[in-house]
Symmetry: C2
Subunit: 292 residues, 2 copies
């Protein structure tokens, strides 16, 4: 029997492939999560991308980090194995995440947010600076970022097409058309499919529209849109691909230029999922950043 | 007696502090250089910044890299202990560098260019793709880069002021006004002053105007200015500070976006000399890049 309130540094022998899905109740929502790895006394909390579940994380990353720290994956409200409904704002998503973390009893963490997860991680950090030691923002952008008021034309095209098998969608979302990037993409898909037992159910049909509405509110033009970034004083690592067509790469540059304490890394010949194209390098860079 | 034609992997016990200044004749010029370190079979060649000599390199970097590879420092034509005159174009500077390397008998190298040295390293790589395995461009920019048609207003102000001691100029050129950056700057100056014997003479009064003329030709507006970057197919690492006021940071982003195979790293709260502000992190990042 796993005790979800155990101290977060308690070692466990689980990996991405066999960590059980656990549940904790908070703010009236039953949150699904997985914890594995041990070592450094600060867990790494992952914020998932648009329509993703815990199974969409790359085990090369999660197990990579779990070598010397605990990682926590979760589905936010309304997504897959979690209860409740997806709210239509980033702010509410961040509140749900904070309720979940408080219910776990975690007092300090490092946060890694990818795409929409990076927006939530920014908001979460502003709401609860006490909780966040360091922040990693991958394939994401600022409020009113370039091309963020709606899906980009490229994203509309990519998300609007049919794929067989359906998860080959991610070859186009995360990787460039180059042979090398597509080959890396196929390896990512293999890794991501490797967990066979107790996979998360795919999100229901209400998830994408609600997340999209939240994305568009965040991306809508406002006056002095980047001023809020000055409030995020945690050391931050911003990472993206050189050619992100889902959240344009320039948004990562804008984040770095406006955050008070941010490092930027852009990888060559890569799209929205650069961290899955260069998983070893990414784990090395992030580990350096977290220990530095 | 040191044989300048020795195979470049021959180990030696010299460091930044005691490596003798050696000389080799090429293209009618007597080039001054220093070589130290050993290990990996490919030396790292350093291209120096505006008005700098071999002594302006940070031993935290050069000795850091010399742990597992040979490093080669040199003064280009007309600078300090080298003979000849500084030519008024980047193209001629690159030709001089190639003549020097050919005279050493080096057949393959990694190149690290800083500021004007980064321009020369780009040209050198285009001229002699056979010589260059990987390229590192630090605090530099593309042809016709933003603010590169002349010294930036900030650079004019910084280079136009008086300093006592004179080398405190570099506190303003390389570091931001923040307390943390200035403290790092003072440590850099201490490291840079630590070599006591056989220091390079300061460059004569013809160096700055000639280098400036070359910079301005490179920076002048031309049609489709970034197209040439497609010719540099070597894996390239572009590094800069978040707030470079000498060669604006955006130029590093432009380089990364237009080079076919480039990674970008920008460091927080840093100016033109970010690699001297974060020397250990920089050596780690570059070493990862060189081994990858």
């Amino acid at each position: 029997m796993i005790d979800p309130t155990r101290h977060h540094t308690a070692p466990n022998n689980y990996t991405h492939q066999n960590a059980p899905t656990q549940f904790v109740e908070a703010a009236g929502i039953r949150f699904a999560y997985r914890r594995f790895g041990a070592g450094i006394d600060i867990p790494l909390l992952f914020f998932m991308h648009f329509t993703g579940t815990m199974d969409h994380w790359d085990p090369a990353l999660t197990d990579g980090f779990a070598q010397d720290r605990e990682v926590i994956l979760f589905n936010n409200a309304g997504v897959s194995s979690s209860g409740g409904d997806v709210p239509a704002s980033i702010e509410e998503m961040a509140q749900h995440a904070a309720a979940f973390i408080d219910a776990l009893g975690v007092k300090k963490l490092d946060a890694l947010g990818f795409s929409i997860g990076g927006l939530i991680a920014q908001q979460f950090t502003m709401d609860r600076p006490d909780l966040v030691r360091k922040l990693i923002l991958v394939g994401t952008g600022p409020r009113s970022g370039q091309g963020m008021a709606s899906l980009t034309p490229e994203a509309q095209n990519i998300f609007g097409a049919k794929y067989d098998p359906a998860d080959e969608l991610w070859l186009r979302v995360f990787f460039t058309p180059s042979e090398r990037s597509q080959a890396a993409g196929r390896k990512y898909l293999e890794r991501q499919r490797a967990r066979k037992e107790n996979r998360d159910p795919l999100p229901n049909e209400k998830v994408a529209p609600a997340q999209l509405a939240a994305l568009q509110k965040w991306g809508a033009p406002v006056k002095d849109p980047y001023a809020y970034l000055k409030k995020i004083t945690q050391p931050t690592l911003v990472v993206n691909g050189s050619n992100d067509v889902i959240v344009y790469t320039v948004n990562s540059f804008i984040l770095e230029q406006n955050l008070p304490n941010a490092q930027l890394i852009l990888y060559p010949d890569s799209n929205h999922g650069s961290q899955y194209q260069y998983p070893e390098l990414f784990v090395e860079h992030v580990s350096q950043f977290l220990k530095g």
